[in-house]
């Protein structure tokens, strides 16, 4: 039996509606540590405007945000702070790891920089670049919006799937090659004393 639906009624799924609302009002929590933080500020400034995509305010309070953008290198002294802020954010929450340093440690393969925050936090989107151009960051937010629309549920069940639960790593660590002293031009491997 066909239902006679008037013209100003839209029929959809509740999950799709909730995802549509959430994706278009992602409020970022900028966790800006270093140079990527400046590109994050430039993305929010007037030339590349992030507010067009729903990220109207960059609230610095974790209780009021849903999207944490980790921009910049995270050192081991800062990581507990980062984890605490992640825990303080309310569900549903997403994380973008912006830049090479947040995704894999970047240039800094040193004793104090965490080689990728995805070792310790669940990350949804990685943005490569050092620093990524504002257009790249905007693209990553658009991609995240598409992902939310595709997989989002109103109850947050998409986070309970096995693939989301397992920690995945952007960087697989190779064994360190110990080079003889004086050989410094080789592109791979870092000299270890």
């Amino acid at each position: 039996m066909a239902l006679d639906v008037p013209e100003n009624v839209v029929v959809s799924q509740l999950d799709a509606l909730a995802s549509w609302c959430r994706k278009n009002s992602l409020w970022p929590m900028p966790f800006a540590t270093a140079c990527c933080g400046i590109e994050l500020m430039a993305t929010g400034a007037s030339r590349h405007d992030l507010a067009r995509f729903g990220a109207e305010v960059m609230r610095f309070s974790p209780r009021q945000c849903d999207l944490m953008i980790v921009a910049g290198r995270v050192v081991m002294k800062m990581l507990p702070v980062l984890q605490r802020i992640w825990q303080q954010m309310h569900e549903p929450k997403w994380c973008i790891s912006m830049g090479a340093c947040a995704s894999t440690g970047g240039v800094f393969d040193t004793y104090c920089v965490v080689q990728g925050i995805d070792r310790f936090l669940p990350v949804d989107m990685y943005v490569p670049g050092c620093p990524p151009r504002p257009e790249q960051l905007i693209q990553s937010i658009i991609d995240l919006q598409d992902q939310i629309q595709r997989e989002g549920t109103i109850g947050g069940r998409e986070f309970a799937t096995r693939s989301r639960q397992q920690p995945k790593r952007a960087l697989v660590e190779l064994p360190v090659i110990s080079l003889p002293r004086g050989v410094s031009h080789l592109p791979q491997g870092v000299r270890v004393e």
Binding site: Q87, Y111, R191, V192
Partner: protein
């Protein structure tokens, strides 16, 4: 660049200083026991009122080095724009040097960083503790026997999952 009278006056007061010059830098090596007196003399009598930097070099792998740690004090004279570098060498096991915080307040954090990175103690420093690394860190990273990637401290943290 430096006024020759400064060199003459300093040598007259402290004969054990050895001088060298390289590309407009004038360097003086002072024995550790006279270091504080030399710096005080330079500040009070020769007008080197600006402490530019305090740093340390670990000469463990350096060709032709006799001592392990070389402390470097860079001074500048704001009136005549002279610069001078004063060096002092220390060896293990007695890796400590008098602090120059009474002379220049700016030395406070510079010495804390040298302690943090190299493990050189400064006697008389009001607050000698780690500044750049976490307090729980045990090693002194800029020493030559510490590897670049560290000894696993950077990944010694709990992992957060979505379920948490």
């Amino acid at each position: 660049m430096i006024d020759p009278q400064t060199i003459a006056a300093a040598t007259a007061a402290f004969p054990s200083l050895s001088w060298s010059e390289f590309r407009t830098d004038t360097r003086a090596v002072a024995p550790r026991d006279e270091l504080y007196a030399v710096l005080e003399f330079l500040r009070d009598r020769r007008g080197f009122d600006l402490l530019v930097d305090i740093t340390c070099v670990d000469y463990a792998n350096y060709r032709g080095a006799e001592d392990r740690f070389g402390l470097v004090y860079l001074l500048a004279n704001t009136r005549t724009n002279e610069r001078i570098t004063v060096r002092a060498f220390v060896n293990e096991p007695d890796v400590c040097v008098p602090s120059v915080v009474p002379l220049w307040e700016g030395a406070n954090w510079l010495e804390r960083e040298v302690w943090d990175m190299f493990g050189v103690r400064f006697e008389g420093h009001p607050d000698l503790r780690r500044i750049l690394l976490p307090d729980e860190f045990t090693a002194h990273p800029l020493r030559k026997d510490y590897p670049l990637q560290g000894r696993g401290e950077r990944h010694n943290f709990p992992v957060l999952h979505r379920a948490d």
